[in-house]
Symmetry: C2
Subunit: 161 residues, 2 copies
């Protein structure tokens, strides 16, 4: 699509296929979802060799950063439903990436920790995520990236959530 065609499309609320977006183009929720799906596409492709989805990568980071914290606490911090997080931990245990052990302080709860294999996978993941972030931020300058982070934090889970 030429620049002129893009400008015409933007003006008339049409996308590249000549379709009208109707009211969608003006909705924050729609723009947010489309941007997020675009970013996830790159993430999924980047992490396919490690067999990690975005939520799994986030979980490994949080478990590593909070050794000994409970399944309940990690799930809550990630905003993942408890049963979904239990299923994720089951898979981590099958793949020997993380393990559950009885908490020292509360015998009824499970404390989580990464295995050595989990730590190694996370190290690979950190390298991959840095390249992924650089790719998605390439369309923004430094100021724009910082401003976007700030605005998303305003929309995202409040500190007290």
């Amino acid at each position: 699509m030429t620049v002129a065609a893009a400008a015409r499309a933007a003006k008339s609320g049409e996308d590249a296929g000549g379709l009208s977006e109707g009211m969608l183009g003006g909705l924050l929720g729609y723009r947010l979802r489309r941007a997020q799906l675009k970013v996830f596409e790159d993430f999924l492709a980047s992490f396919a060799p490690l067999g990690l989805k975005p939520a799994q990568f986030s979980a490994l980071v949080l478990i590593a950063a909070n050794p000994g914290r409970s399944q309940r606490e990690i799930a809550a911090a990630l905003g993942i439903q408890r049963p979904n997080f239990v299923a994720m931990m089951d898979e981590f245990e099958r793949r020997a990436l993380a393990r559950r052990h009885r908490s020292q302080t509360d015998r009824r709860s499970h404390a989580l920790a990464l295995t050595e294999a989990g730590e190694a996978l996370l190290r690979q993941g950190r390298t991959i995520v840095a390249a992924h972030e650089a790719r998605i931020a390439a369309r923004l300058n430094e100021t724009e990236r910082a401003e976007l982070m700030r605005l998303l934090a305003l929309l995202g889970p409040a500190a007290a959530d």
Copy 2:
């Protein structure tokens, strides 16, 4: 959580539960996903009475805004995989919200249109989405909302996607 506690938490990279976010807090992809999930929570609650999920609402808007366009074109504009969109149209037909008919210009493709019930549901949806958008934008001022829309458009599907 008090303002002081929130400030301390933000400073140390900790969330309200006292957990460290590790590297996640600095990742654009993570912030984007958390903000999007937060927005979807409100959307799902708002649209539950209509029995519409976000992608279904978007599809109804696009079908209404592009009468006679094909199933393939609408799916592409929404960024929805073809089989998923076919399943969505099946449900719309079961609920008598939209229908497929043979295209006048291309007998091999299906042109889509809303039924009267679909139009009526969409009118209700437009009212609900306006209230939903107002709620999620309430944490931003006008300038911030406009800037967020602009930055998300830079990240989202390019016009030529």
